[in-house]
């Protein structure tokens, strides 16, 4: 009886708690909007949640808001509104959904978001910068671009002590100090370094937990679906970065995953194929997209999305609270650089992922909306196929725009992909003399 109750309490807790935290987060944003308290607009690749918490700013992630419009099947309304203003069908759908959100006074299906008091963004995606320039024009509020130099070439990732790394780190550290001054000015609050220390401790727990959760999915059967469940975890990792709730969530998530591993509880009852996902999910048919694979016994054991959209948390970086600013600079540099690497220089990392997670196949999903993620995928696939003998599927659609999502066509491609996987397995079995 006690075991059953423990089982029910733990299994699926990450998803339940994630949904609850999300609701609470949006309720708090709605309250902030109603009280006309400005928010900090930030992005998933380098949100600086650790620092912003020290200023009690409501944190708004426009990317997450936009994708929610797609998941809730209303993105097309938002996209059309932005296109009516003059924004091209060929630009990022997240940007357009947000423009329409601003036109609607921050109204979204999940609640209402406050206007920006400040925007803090990195250069991990160039569109972040163009996006923030739109807010600058709309609201005449400060936008701070925290410029984080990435890897200069594949494999060129120097660390502390290297003069080029130190040049980058000093640049990031100097910008963080400028940003703190700007945050003080914007909020009228003095910076409290002890609050930053607290946030860093929470972020450390979260980073460590996230890294461990990803590692645990090497188990067979896999414990969570990197596409569906993973996106919930990602939402918490972004929205609650540096917060005690975030730290607790990931500590408990590790506990859940370890329990599932010990009990042999997989995300699928009958896991047939272990897959890796590369790209951004197809949010307009989010659930159905995952089902196209799970119906064949396929589950996503890991994805590049869980790396770059966590802003590099996957590395498990541990800040040194004794030297918070320098440590934050190093953590941001290393984390955001890794996020960029997992989009641009990902071939070897993917090869490692295939080995570590015993993957049977890899699915590339380039999207119209996002050139950051999608530009190099075809070439990356070609290079990866030369490195590893693994079947792959290349299916193009979008993360927002249902006009370029053809479910029927996608299903045909996915079905054919699984036929290939099955026949490959059969041939391999025959080669080993299995019946």
């Amino acid at each position: 009886m006690e075991t059953e109750s423990k089982h029910d309490g733990i299994v699926g807790r990450g998803n339940r708690e994630g949904a609850r935290l999300f609701r609470e987060w949006f309720d708090s944003l709605t309250r902030a909007a109603e009280e006309d308290r400005g928010g900090a607009y930030v992005f998933v690749m380098g949100s600086l949640g650790e620092l912003l918490r020290a200023f009690d700013l409501p944190v708004v992630f426009p990317e997450i808001n936009s994708l929610q419009t797609a998941v809730r099947k209303v993105a097309h309304e938002y996209l059309n509104e932005a296109e009516d203003i003059g924004y091209s069908p060929d630009i990022c759908g997240y940007v357009k959904a947000d423009i329409a959100t601003q036109q609607r006074g921050g109204q979204l299906p999940m609640g209402r978001i406050p206007k920006p008091a400040i925007a803090v963004l990195t250069n991990a995606c160039n569109t972040y910068i163009k996006w923030a320039e739109i807010w600058e024009r709309m609201y005449h509020m400060p936008c701070y671009v925290l410029d984080v130099p990435g890897s200069r070439a594949d494999g060129l990732t120097p660390g502390p002590g290297d003069r080029d790394f130190d040049n980058d780190r000093r640049y990031v550290a100097a910008q963080l100090k400028e940003l703190i001054g700007l945050l003080e000015e914007t909020t009228g609050k003095r910076f409290d370094i002890d609050r930053l220390r607290e946030s860093l401790v929470h972020a450390n727990a979260m980073n460590q937990g996230w890294q461990r959760v990803l590692e645990l999915n090497r188990s067979r059967p896999s414990l969570f679906n990197a596409l569906s469940d993973g996106t919930i975890y990602l939402g918490v990792s972004n929205g609650f970065r540096g917060a005690p709730e975030g730290a607790r969530y990931f500590t408990e998530l590790v506990e859940e995953m370890e329990y599932k591993r010990d009990q042999g509880i997989g995300t699928l009852v009958d896991e047939q194929y272990r897959l890796i996902f590369v790209g951004v999910p197809c949010y307009p048919i989010f659930r159905r997209f995952t089902e196209l694979f799970t119906e064949h016994g396929g589950t996503f054991v890991n994805s590049t999305y869980l790396w770059f959209a966590s802003g590099g948390s996957n590395l498990g970086f541990q800040y040194d609270p004794r030297d918070p600013l320098e440590s934050l600079a190093e953590g941001v540099l290393v984390g955001v650089r890794d996020a960029m690497d997992s989009m641009f220089f990902q071939t070897r990392a993917l090869a490692g992922m295939i080995d570590d997670y015993a993957a049977d196949g890899i699915v590339f999903h380039p999207i119209k909306s996002c050139r950051t993620v999608s530009t190099g995928l075809a070439d990356n696939r070609r290079a990866l196929m030369a490195m590893r003998d693994i079947p792959s599927l290349f299916v193009e659609s979008d993360m927002m725009d249902r006009r370029v999502v053809s479910e029927a066509q996608m299903k045909n491609r996915v079905d054919a992909f699984f036929e290939g996987l099955a026949s490959r397995r059969q041939l391999a079995g025959a080669g080993r003399g299995e019946a």
């Binding site: 024009r137 410029d147 990435g150 641009f344």
Partner: protein, 389 residues
């Protein structure tokens, strides 16, 4: 330093002959100047749009070659990319895959989401090094200049490795002086466009500028030193055309025929074609630390484009200034197809132009487009409306 003359065809010719030779060169997709440089034992640094501190490559004795796509079929490169991409990214890679140009180093910049992928894609397909030069995107930060000086120092070390020799500050000072002359000559060319646009057609000015991306600056300087007085003394008369600014040519370049078409009904008195070559606005004083001088010039003495964020230079205000300075009556606000920064900026430009009551013509282009009839008719209608307004 490679002493070969890579572009002798214009010499001993009259103005029309010179312009013809330049036109042939920039339309030649076999890139003969690059080939001649290599045949003479020289090494080549290909750098993608928009801005690159070419002085560093020049000081290392390398040919800086401006990679800006080409009017070619990207048959091999197409398979390396997704569908929703601008043309210049594809045709630029095609230059390497089809072996039209042989490089010793390729450098791209995080100017946009597509371009920053290029170093990775390019690097997986060629044997020479491919890198990203991280030009600052926080240009207003007091720490940006120090950072950029360090980044240029890193680039200098890379270039020294390619050249197989150190690049002393003295060599860098000489290169900066050479490029200062080039910038002054280009400013003079643009002054002619502004002051007496009937003396140089839009496509002629474009061609004369573009040659600079294909030859050593010494040769480009010699060309411009010869051509500019010839343009000034050209017997031509003002015609009844609208003075316009063209905005949208900062990365992918519009086809020459498009520029020619615009020139038939308008005087293009200023533009952002190949803006990287004119990015630094004034002479750079190399001083004691030429790397620091170049870094400061990039940040503090430079133009604007949709791919550099600098809150001190709001792009729409800069466009209005450009229109004002050149005494233009209207603007052509264009963007390359699928160019995210260009398309996003278009909206801000249009709103600012509406606010300032400046007539504008909005369009898109692709470097490989071949039919302009519809666009020409639309533009003529736009111009007629203004002429008879």
């Amino acid at each position: 330093m490679n002493e070969v003359v890579v572009f002798p065809e214009w010499r001993e010719k009259d103005l029309d002959g010179i312009l013809g030779a330049c036109l042939e060169l920039i339309e030649d997709t076999t890139f003969p100047t690059v080939k001649r440089w290599r045949d003479a034992g020289g090494k080549v640094v290909g750098h993608f749009q928009v801005y690159f501190p070419e002085e560093l490559a020049d000081a290392a004795g390398l040919l800086p070659f401006k990679v800006r796509g080409a009017s070619i079929d990207a048959s091999q490169a197409d398979s390396r990319f997704g569908s929703y991409l601008c043309s210049v990214v594809k045709t630029s890679l095609e230059l390497a895959l089809s072996e039209r140009v042989h490089l010793d180093l390729f450098v791209t910049h995080p100017i946009c989401d597509a371009a920053r992928n290029l170093a990775a894609v390019w690097g997986r397909n060629v044997s020479y090094p491919c890198q990203i030069l991280y030009l600052p995107q926080n240009a207003a930060s007091p720490s940006a200049a120090t950072y950029l000086r360090g980044e240029y120092d890193r680039l200098r070390r890379v270039l020294e490795g390619i050249a197989g020799a150190p690049v002393p500050n003295e060599a860098l000072r000489r290169s900066i002086t050479r490029f200062n002359e080039n910038r002054a000559l280009l400013r003079e060319l643009y002054a002619i466009k502004r002051e007496t646009p009937w003396q140089v057609a839009a496509h002629e000015a474009y061609v004369l500028t573009a040659v600079g991306g294909l030859v050593p600056r010494e040769e480009h300087n010699a060309l411009l030193r010869t051509v500019l007085p010839l343009l000034r003394s050209r017997a031509a008369h003002a015609q009844d055309r609208i003075r316009v600014v063209f905005e949208g040519g900062f990365c992918e370049q519009p086809p020459l025929d498009l520029i020619r078409s615009i020139g038939r009904s308008c005087y293009v008195v200023d533009d952002d074609f190949l803006i990287g070559m004119r990015w630094i606005l004034d002479d750079v004083d190399p001083g004691k630390d030429p790397l620091a001088a170049l870094a400061a010039a990039y940040l503090e003495g430079s133009g604007y484009s949709p791919v550099q964020h600098d809150p001190r230079k709001p792009k729409e205000r800069m466009l209005l200034d450009r229109i004002d300075r050149s005494d233009a009556r209207a603007a052509i606000v264009s963007s390359a197809k699928m160019c995210e920064p260009g398309l996003e900026e278009q909206v801000a430009y249009v709103q600012a132009l509406d606010g300032a009551r400046i007539p504008h013509f909005v369009t898109e282009f692709e470097e490989n487009m071949t039919t302009f009839e519809q666009l020409e008719i639309q533009l003529e209608t736009f111009v007629e409306n203004l002429l008879f307004d």
